[in-house]
């Protein structure tokens, strides 16, 4: 068959590993050969499926923190005694400032989490919780174009226990963001996405259960965006949705 010589190198072509000139020749051939183009398409789909399936395991938050501390602390061991004394003096001088800053940050963080919980509850209580009603991520995502100053990816929910109900614009501390609502076994879960740099409070990635509320919440930062996932679903469901988002992003 005339295409056999092409098909021998189709995977290498799709891996982007052919020499430049050969790449161009291949492009021209694939463009005009229905057999090779169909074959290329199915191989691309297979590659994509492996890519998604391969992103399977995520480290626990505890392990991540442990390793980050371990890596971060090493280069700083080489302080000389003088520097250490100077640092100690500086610590004494700024201790008060740091304490008040820390308390201020903590209070800022608590306020953000509280606002997120409020947004979640208020939206679900509304008669029209979503402005774009669709289970199709390809409908919901484009709806945000021009409404929020960033783009983000929505996960593929096929074979998962989640379904997308829709989305709406939201604001957190005067910062525009996306609010998505998912359904998991009749529990509604909100996913909020904001630009990290626009949020005033410095947040750390964490799983938490806001006091006085029976919600589970997770937050993390990825690609300059801050995500919050909150709902009355189980912590395992929240975690599973978080993983889907992390994979998609």
């Amino acid at each position: 068959m005339v295409c056999e010589s092409w098909k021998e190198r189709l995977d290498i072509y799709l891996d982007g590993e052919l020499p430049h000139e050969e790449m161009r020749t291949f492009d021209a051939h694939v463009r005009n050969c229905s057999s090779c183009s169909a074959d290329a398409l199915s191989r691309v789909q297979f590659k994509r499926a492996i890519h998604l399936a391969g992103k399977r395991f995520t480290p626990s938050a505890e392990f991540r923190n442990r390793m980050q501390q371990r890596i971060a602390s090493k280069p700083r061991r080489a302080f000389r005694l003088g520097w250490m004394l100077a640092a100690a003096a500086a610590v004494v001088l700024v201790a008060g400032t740091l304490t008040s800053t820390y308390l201020g940050n903590r209070s800022g963080r608590d306020q953000v989490f509280s606002e997120i919980a409020d947004l979640h509850v208020a939206t679900l209580a509304s008669s029209s919780p979503v402005d774009v009603i669709s289970t199709d991520r390809h409908t919901v995502k484009p709806w945000f174009q021009g409404k929020i100053p960033f783009a983000f990816n929505l996960p593929e929910l096929q074979n998962s226990e989640f379904s997308l109900l829709g989305g709406r614009m939201t604001y957190l501390e005067q910062t525009p963001g996306a609010h998505l609502i998912y359904d998991a076994r009749k529990h509604h879960i909100s996913v909020f996405v904001f630009q990290e740099r626009s949020l005033p409070a410095r947040l750390t990635d964490s799983s938490l259960k806001p006091a006085k509320l029976s919600f589970n919440m997770e937050t993390w930062s990825q690609g300059g965006l801050r995500y919050f996932v909150i709902g009355d679903a189980s912590a395992a469901d929240i975690d599973s949705l978080v993983r889907l988002f992390k994979t998609a992003s």
Binding site: M1, E4, K7, E8, D11, I12, Y13, L14, D15, G16, E17, L18, M23, R24, F26, D27, V30, R31, N32, S34, S35, S37, A38, D39, A40, L41, S42, R43, V44, Q45, F46, K47, R48, A49, I50, H51, L52, A53, G54, K55, R56, F57, T58, P59, S60, F63, M67, Q68, R70, I71, A72, K74, P75, R137, H138, K141, N153, Q158, N159, A248
Partner: protein, 233 residues
Amino acid sequence: MWSPSLQCLSHQSFSLPLSFPQQFFVLEGINPALRSSHHVDVSGANLQLNSFEELAIPLFDQLYNFAHWLTQNRDEAEDLVQETYVKALKGFSSFQLGTNFRAWIYRILRNTFLTSRKGLKVTMTVPLDFDDEEEGPEPAIEHDTPETLLLARSSHESLQGAIDQLPVHFREILLLCEVEEMSYQEIADTLAVPIGTVMSRLSRARQTLRNQLRPQLQQEAGQRIPRGTSHGL
């Protein structure tokens, strides 16, 4: 010819050859230079500006994922990643400028795995330095069939199960290529094998994966796959 129906891929984020997809797919989020740009941050090019922390921490999730695939166990994966970082930190002063940090640290992880109890057990079953060229003839050239489309649409779980079942030398090369999106040169550096070996081993890994998926698909699809179409994707 590429038909409009191929636009079904248009909302997926995936890296493809530099020239191939851009004309045919409007692939959202695709950076044609993804592979090369990805390792700008972690290569030796900007090393003087970067500390070990800045280079190593962004790779943490990927290294853990790779370690978990190798060890197939959470605790062992954590131990493996931890040991890798300790070794990499110790050896960082000897890391050569201009070389690829990502390939370097993956190589440390892989070597650490191979000298672990589980790694030694694996290599006793299938020697990792086997000559790929002596594994028999190259797989037959394959053609597009309805089966190939089914393979491409294997369920997430089936695919993960099939990858899990792959011999470790196939599993690792497939993950480095498809998940980590390493170039053949980076894979060669990581595995310490020539590029020709990368190409042939990768080809066999893909073929083995398809062969493992086929019975499951036949089971799932019942009689939808004609028995005569034994060639894969």
